[in-house]
């Protein structure tokens, strides 16, 4: 394209979600006109309270809505400049879109090694699989040590590493992570943070869904905030980190030191105006 780059997005977007509406079971409207972009090489964070629709947005991008009887009723999703609304997940993964699902979802009955191999299902060349395997094991040496153990017997942190490693086995161009820090001790959260930066430094773009806003914003180039199925704020990581509302409602550090119900109401009002 020869258009000048859009203000917020530096390069050609690898993922572009335009104004999508998602409905579950033909009646439950969950996303109401969501737009979002991830440019090549970026880490983009997506914040939002429980039930805001973050996971739904990821499902819309990866073609998993079908499993949940969900549908994109309006708008488009493009991956690598190609409209991908109707692609099945298999094809998206082959084209370079991998995900770490909410709650890890490792195959607990399979061995660690088999879990990793399942992540490389779409990779045809054996050599590419071996290379990806080497990279993953480099990143997570514990996965090599426990290669033959049953994945269900790993600790929660190790399972999260396995889930990330499994997603990396397809050598994705874009990695979607749904709450990778969930249920991890602070030290492990730090580790996950470093790993995400590492993965990004090796050339993979990242869309990171997080409840842990401090962690996410500290590594994100840009971030979006989602409420009730809408994007209500977006900006660079630093901008949002400095923002009073974000500080108060996602980082839990209010300017006045405490939160009152009235503050919440003003926030809601302000948000309505901004949306």
């Amino acid at each position: 394209m020869n258009q000048p780059a859009v203000a917020t997005v530096a390069a050609e977007p690898i993922l572009a979600v335009q104004n999508i509406e998602v409905v579950y079971n033909d009646v439950i409207l969950v996303l109401r006109g969501v737009s979002l972009e991830v440019a090549e090489g970026e880490i983009v964070a997506l914040l939002g309270a429980n039930g805001a629709g973050k996971t739904t947005l990821l499902r819309a991008v990866t073609g998993l809505l079908e499993v949940h009887r969900g549908n994109i009723t309006k708008g488009t999703v493009s991956f690598l400049g190609r409209r991908s609304n109707l692609d099945d997940t298999s094809r998206l993964v082959r084209n370079g879109l991998s995900q770490v699902m909410e709650g890890r979802r490792i195959f607990a009955e399979l061995s660690v090694e088999e879990n990793l191999r399942s992540g490389a299902y779409t990779v045809r060349s054996r050599q590419a699989v071996n290379e990806a395997h080497d990279r993953v094991v480099d990143l997570f040496p514990v996965l090599a040590e426990r290669a033959r153990s049953t994945a269900g017997y790993l600790s929660g942190g190790e399972q999260q590493m396995l889930a990330i490693g499994r997603a990396l086995m397809a050598s994705p161009k874009l990695l979607l992570l749904d709450e990778p820090s969930l249920g991890l001790a602070p030290l492990l959260v730090q580790q996950v943070r470093y790993i995400i930066r590492d993965i990004n430094a090796q050339g993979t773009s990242v869309l990171l869904v997080e409840q842990n806003a401090a962690m996410a914003l500290s590594i994100a180039d840009r971030a979006y905030v989602m409420e009730n199925g809408r994007i209500v704020r977006d900006g660079t990581g630093a901008e949002l980190l400095a923002d009073a509302d974000i500080r108060e409602f996602y980082l839990g550090v209010g300017e006045t030191g405490h939160r009152s119900f009235r503050d919440v109401k003003t926030y809601r009002r302000r948000k309505r105006w901004s949306a």
């Binding site: 998993l64 997940t89 191999r117």
Partner: protein
């Protein structure tokens, strides 16, 4: 002692057959969550195709068996795509094939030229439909709900049970197997060749299945899909492929079971599929979703049935009735279920979204 050994041998032979039949159920259940009642129909098709190739066409029996395994696997896969997933392109292709085959045949063409021409047109229809689907962006995997699928497989069983005798008739047929009534005697034991071959073939099939399931990419994909359907999709595993492979395996092993069950003098009748109902307790015994359970369940049921046959007259239990060996099987099954409600190897939850 000899009696016991003989009962065990016969039991293992029968049980091996049950194991393979149950494996067909289990593989489909694990992949798709449905019980495929048409499995009995596949057993029938497999047996009659072997008969047709070996007797009507006069091919070598083992070659006929191989052809039958491939054909039945193919039929099973096509059935899955068309009836259970409603994949339009395949429906169009197969419909063209069958309709044109019939039209050409009744217009005096030979079978071979009719099938070949119809197949070419069917392939073109398949390709064109695929193009259109891709253009419109439709044609993703659609699944019937589980209950609907089960009803479809029941309907299919009836259809197959109508079609098979309309082609091959109701009379008892010889499969043309080289085993016949040959036996080898070891001590007092009578080892029939048919049973020895049954055990050997079934064991080979089971070993092949377990090797595929354990070591190959598609095996890992099948186990992953069984454990967590959605997470498997998220890895890019194609459910279409997993379902098709599961049905292919089920069809192939059904042909194997049908052929061995129909082997021997005048053994092949359109009621051969009843063997599936005798195998059913083995599936419940083993736990619905465990291939290992299928094998163990099958062998246990086979042995129980045969030992009952041996010892019922011995212990003056004739008053229990002539078919008591089949009842005994259900009694054993119920006893096991009291202790282990999910069967010997079944998992409590079935992980499915």
């Amino acid at each position: 002692m000899i009696q016991l050994l003989q009962g065990l041998f016969d039991g293992v032979a029968m049980g091996a057959q049950y194991s393979v039949i149950v494996l067909g159920f289990v593989v489909i259940y694990r992949a798709t969550g449905i019980i495929n009642f048409a499995q009995g129909g596949f057993v029938l098709i497999g047996a009659y195709v072997t008969y047709n190739v070996s007797q009507t066409w006069g091919w070598n029996f083992y070659l006929a068996l191989l052809v039958s395994i491939l054909v039945t696997a193919g039929v099973s896969m096509v059935v899955q795509r068309i009836l259970l997933q409603w994949v339009l392109r395949e429906t169009v292709g197969v419909a063209l094939l069958l309709v044109l085959w019939a039209v050409f045949y009744f217009n005096g063409w030979g079978h071979v030229s009719a099938v070949a021409t119809a197949a070419v047109v069917g392939l073109i229809g398949y390709g064109v439909t695929r193009r259109i689907e891709q253009h419109l962006g439709t044609g993703q995997t659609k699944e019937l709900p589980v209950f609907g699928s089960i009803m479809v497989t029941i309907g299919l069983l009836f259809v197959i049970k109508q079609i098979v005798p309309s082609i091959w008739g109701f009379s008892e047929l010889n499969m043309g197997d080289p085993w016949g009534l040959n036996v080898t005697k070891v001590g007092g034991l009578v080892l029939s060749h048919a049973k020895l071959w049954t055990i050997g073939l079934m064991a080979a099939a089971l070993v092949a299945f377990f090797a595929v399931n354990r070591y190959t990419k598609i095996g890992v994909a099948m186990r992953a899909t069984h454990f967590d359907h959605e997470a498997a999709v998220a890895q890019g595993i194609s459910l279409r492929v997993v379902f098709a492979v599961a049905f292919g395996i089920a069809g192939g092993v059904a042909a194997l079971a049908g052929t061995t069950a129909g082997a021997g003098i005048a053994q092949l009748t359109p009621n051969l599929d009843l063997v599936v109902f005798f195998a059913f307790p083995a599936m419940i015994l083993g736990g619905f979703d465990s291939p290992g359970g299928a094998v163990l369940g099958g062998v246990i049921i086979g042995i129980v049935q045969n030992l009952t046959k041996v010892y019922q007259p011995e212990w003056d239990l004739q008053w229990l009735g002539v078919g008591f060996d089949r009842v005994a099987v259900y009694i054993v099954m119920l006893l096991v279920l009291m202790v282990r409600p999910y069967g010997l190897f079944g998992t409590k939850e079935v992980h499915r979204v």
